[in-house]
């Protein structure tokens, strides 16, 4: 029994030591993502808004490394999946031709971004933050008309400025995160700049 207590005390000391001595954190998070390509400024791409409807479909993962626990800076990466879709009867104008009919339009975006964030406020409190994401976007645009489907997909370089807030949820290991990102993927493969807003909410934990 004494041995067991000793072992537990050693493990406790080791854990406490490794945590405090390093004084750093990895925060992980999952977010529910919503997106919009209209009704907000600066959202058009060179082809106009491919999809106008607001989207409630999306999911994301976050990882943030805080070198100085409770400090103001973090570095990390994020991956997410945003799905926008729309059913429309809008007439499509092409060079020398016009097309009408029910169209199902889909916009699938997978941003893979590295980021840096700066946090306001102090440790343990509500932390508003600003950040910058840089990386690649895989974007597929697809239109189904009648039984015909046309699509293009490309890897884009892009960036996304971000504003958000982190709210502690009573325990030091768990927090609520909410943010807005303006995703800007530069033109690639004949597809113009793709821009859309992301509104994300989820949990962070460490």
């Amino acid at each position: 029994m004494r041995m067991l207590k000793g072992a537990l005390a050693s493990v406790a000391l080791l854990v406490a030591f490794s945590g405090e001595a390093q004084a750093q954190d990895w925060w992980w998070g999952i977010t529910y993502n919503m997106s919009a390509t209209s009704s907000l400024p600066g959202t058009s791409d060179s082809d106009g808004n491919f999809v106008d409807d607001f989207s409630f479909r999306g999911v994301g993962i976050e990882a943030r490394y805080v070198p100085d626990r409770g400090g103001n800076l973090s570095y990390g990466f994020s991956g997410s999946w945003n799905v926008l879709n729309e059913k429309t009867d809008e007439v499509v104008h092409l060079p020398g031709a016009d097309l009408s009919g029910t169209q199902l339009r889909y916009f699938n975006s997978i941003p893979l971004l590295v980021n840096a964030h700066y946090y306001f406020g102090s440790r343990g409190g509500i932390r508003p933050y600003a950040g910058l994401n840089v990386g690649t976007y895989w974007i597929e645009r697809r239109a189904d008309v009648s039984i015909v489907s046309v699509k293009d997909d490309n890897w884009h370089l892009g960036w996304a400025p971000e504003l958000g807030i982190i709210v502690p949820l009573g325990r030091p290991e768990v927090a609520l995160i909410a943010n807005a990102r303006y995703n800007w993927a530069f033109s690639a493969g004949g597809s113009g700049d793709q821009k859309y807003w992301g509104f994300n909410i989820g949990f962070m934990y460490r």
Binding site: V15, F17, W26, D144
Partner: protein, 235 residues
């Protein structure tokens, strides 16, 4: 070690939780939500025009009373892909020809054109444009192969979910029709070919109901003219 371990779970575990939760949530976000929900929504109307042609100079037209099956004639070319494969061709019922021609006539008149009776058309009495209606109907079949016909756990020694009874597939077939209205320009004829200066093509999956198909085609004809009226309208 310390860098990868803080209070709580190991880094790999925490990352795993995030990834699994993300994938699970991702299941709610299908790549292609929404669907075509009716025969009407399969219909598409395509109009093509000649950007160099002076539509404003045309004032008269003529149209025959019949709709021609494209695949029955080697002299017709609506300028769009056509499948005349004997295996997929479906006989076209000409019962609605008069209704289709009448609807084209109605739209042309509404745009300000004057009709020249087709029976009176000859080399000395040519209309500015002639309208020819054509049709194709094809049957399409899609096969979906499932590979494994079910019977989960049929073989007792397989883990649940691995039993494979028989290869399974399902088939879906549908008839698809295209109704073309071509506007020909007789004065531009050369080498025994009369150029087409406008095409309206209505394409869709056909219903079992003849009335539904007729109504869809008629609304498609209206749409073809509606989306072209800016340049077809007689000034």
């Amino acid at each position: 070690m310390g860098q990868w371990m803080t209070r709580g779970r190991p880094l790999a575990t925490r990352a795993g939780i995030a990834i699994v939760a993300t994938v699970a949530l991702g299941g709610l976000a299908a790549c292609y939500p929404g669907d075509i929900s009716s025969i009407q929504e399969t219909q598409v109307v395509i109009t093509a025009y000649d950007k160099e042609f002076d539509y404003s100079a045309q004032q008269t037209y003529a149209i025959p009373d019949t709709v021609v099956e494209v695949c029955d004639s080697e002299n017709l070319n609506p300028g769009l892909p056509i499948n005349c494969d004997d295996d997929s061709r479906v006989d076209y019922n000409h019962a609605n020809d008069a209704a289709f021609v009448a609807r084209v006539r109605q739209n042309m008149n509404a745009l300000g054109y004057t009709e020249v009776d087709w029976e009176t058309v000859n080399e000395n009495n040519l209309p500015d444009v002639a309208l020819i209606m054509m049709v194709t109907v094809n049957r399409w079949t899609a096969y979906t192969y499932w590979g494994c016909g079910g019977y989960w756990g049929w073989w007792g020694w397989y883990p649940p979910g691995w039993g494979c009874g028989y290869p399974g597939y399902s088939t879906t077939s549908w008839d698809q029709g295209t109704l073309y209205t071509d506007m020909l320009y007789p004065d531009g004829a050369s080498n025994e070919t009369i150029p087409s200066v406008w095409t309206g093509a209505i394409n869709g999956v056909l219903s079992n109901s003849s009335n539904t198909n007729r109504d869809l085609a008629l609304s498609g004809i209206d749409q073809a003219f509606a989306q072209s009226k800016d340049y077809l309208m007689v000034p």
